[in-house]
Symmetry: C2
Subunit: 349 residues, 2 copies
DNA sequence: TTGAAAGCGATACCAT
DNA sequence: ATGGTATCGCTTTCAA
């Protein structure tokens, strides 16, 4: 590590030679002079059993003194279930929109007394190994962002005790609840908007970055669908998220003969718009530009960036869905369409 | 939920009336006609014990047929340890920089065979409850972003078996390894840059958004320190991340009598710069602006945004630190300074 | 009001 | 080469 490094001077070297074993409820019981059962009763406030105030105090005291913390694994092993909601880390780079959604969701599930846990192992395409890794933790519910989980994975999770499996992706998976993020609708919106405003030769930015095809492909399809049966054409425009590639694209803009572009999202839109302007093109005169995600960013550009505003489900609603599903695992999968897409027309289109 | 909803038509209603219990190693043993011990040997490829090829096949077969997945809780209970690295969700809104760092880190730890788990419960300021919640999971290591964990929390985690506690914050915590993100250095950089270029009345944006004080306070201090013993003044400028507030600030700009501003980061810088431009001010003539984080965004603005480039530790390095610490829990805490900060001078300052 | 003991699922030692 | 069994930490039923 190429950084300054300092050893803390004062270090009681002897302290950790024999690291004390982690205190268990047995230790607490011994110190308090009661049985393990009593410890459990006191610390869990078991209603059905009455324990004298004096004993309670002694137990709490002992627990505090030892720094006792119950062992979640042992507990859920005994209980036969946990309240862990597992969420694999998304396989795609997440934007601010999605991030806020995640935060909200975690908070909402926390309020419902679930423990939210993001598992570092993402799902490859139809990857049963990933599903198995998640299943080992015996979560009560699994929330999978993006594709990558197949029907077999869902079955595996359910057979491992997951009472609810929810996917958050463009397409539903057999057996799982689905929050359908209809990215085709996003493209469709944008495409129709551009067509309505008289544009006929439409470019669609497709990010070169890996992991984004999940979103970019349906968005492209959406544009195609929007102008099908018209005289408009749709041209795919691969673009990496860096200035050089944007400049290159801008340089050959004239030769492409396009009059409008749906730039995948606001960030790519900004990148491309800047490159086009630097190449001397007028926005929207020479080329209309529209992004997506409705980031603050777009409002600050000149001309102000038109965009497709996306409405993600609220964390509270999704948390409620999970809770419902956990309570009634037998219920048939719910399929929700959760991407409200609408054009916010500003000045760039 | 205000969205289209569809019930999947085909639902074998009877299938889940009595949800089959989750298969255990006992079930596998029974089906394969062997003992649980043998099952364990086979599935874990135990080297010390030799099992006939025929038996192995039968066991694997049975496991596959039942969809058997080992129970992580039971396993780690028996083993007395796990390879879970726990990371509380950061309490502050994370930017793209930090996000990429996290992704890289997860990947690197995964390569070292750790299971990375993000716990939804963030730490309040010196909140022992949060620490307790994490300790219940008996992680082998805990990685805490931001402040919020006190020495007591560290002690609690260690007494619960955590072999490494690493904080990622501006200040070290007694007993824990620390990756010191020296945000004061960021402010110092920016402050000195502005001063060197002849600016004397310096404003410093302090985001109004909650959770950001952890970063904004030391950055402000850094600027103050940079111009201490000079004739320059430093003015604190509270700013919410929205256009209205930025416009308000821009409107009273003249009355503030400032000639330069360190805008906390590139996003706030863009917001403010736009507002100032809209108010008719020339950048950098009437007001020099510098941001931080060196986002792509800044290069696309006109004038191009000067910024403080931050060098975060590589995920691989941090993963290595964690691994080292896990192997030698007795070692004294390492203190690393991990924010390489340097000014990238462009056109806005 | 409290304690003894069974059992959750997986593993590893010690027999056979 | 395989099986019996004690054990990890905790909860809960049943007895006292």
């Amino acid at each position: 590590m190429p950084y300054v490094m300092v050893q803390i001077p004062k270090t009681p070297a002897a302290a950790s030679l024999t690291p004390r074993p982690v205190p268990t409820s047995t230790d607490v019981a011994r110190l308090a002079g009661v049985s393990r059962a009593t410890v459990s009763y006191v610390l869990n406030n078991t209603g059905a059993v009455r324990i004298s105030e004096a004993t309670r105090r002694r137990v709490h005291e002992a627990a505090r003194e030892l720094g006792y913390v119950p062992h979640a694994a042992a507990r859920s092993l005994r209980a036969g279930h946990s309240r862990m909601v597992l969420m694999p880390a998304p396989a795609f780079p997440v934007g601010p929109l999605y991030n806020q959604f995640l935060t909200e969701l975690q908070w909402a599930l926390g309020r419902l007394d679930y423990t939210v846990v993001q598992h570092g192992t993402a799902a490859g395409p139809h990857d049963d190994d990933a599903a198995r890794a998640w299943a080992e933790l015996r979560p009560v519910a699994v929330l999978v962002p993006g594709s990558g989980l197949g029907p077999r994975g869902v079955e595996l999770l359910k057979r491992s005790g997951a009472r609810a499996v929810v996917t958050l992706a463009p397409e539903a998976v057999e057996g799982a609840h689905a929050l359908l993020m209809d990215h085709e609708a996003v493209g469709h919106c944008a495409g129709r908007h551009l067509h309505d405003r008289g544009h006929r030769r439409i470019g669609v930015v497709v990010p070169a970055e890996a992991g984004l095809e999940v979103f970019s492909a349906p968005r492209l399809r959406g544009v195609r669908r929007a102008v099908a049966d018209t005289d408009a054409t749709v041209t795919e425009l691969p673009l990496a998220y860096d200035e050089r590639d944007a400049a290159r694209l801008a340089a050959r803009w004239a030769s492409l003969g396009l009059d409008a572009v749906f730039a995948y999202n606001d960030e790519y839109a900004m990148l491309l718009m800047r490159a086009l302007q630097d190449a001397g093109l007028d926005i929207p005169g020479d080329a209309a530009v529209i992004g997506a995600d409705d980031l603050m960013l777009g409002r600050l550009l000149r001309p102000r960036l038109s965009t497709v505003h996306l409405e993600l489900p609220s964390g509270r609603d999704l948390a409620a869905l999970v809770d419902r599903a956990v309570h009634d695992p037998g219920a048939p999968p719910e399929l929700h369409t959760v991407l409200g897409a609408r054009v916010v027309h500003r000045e760039s289109s």
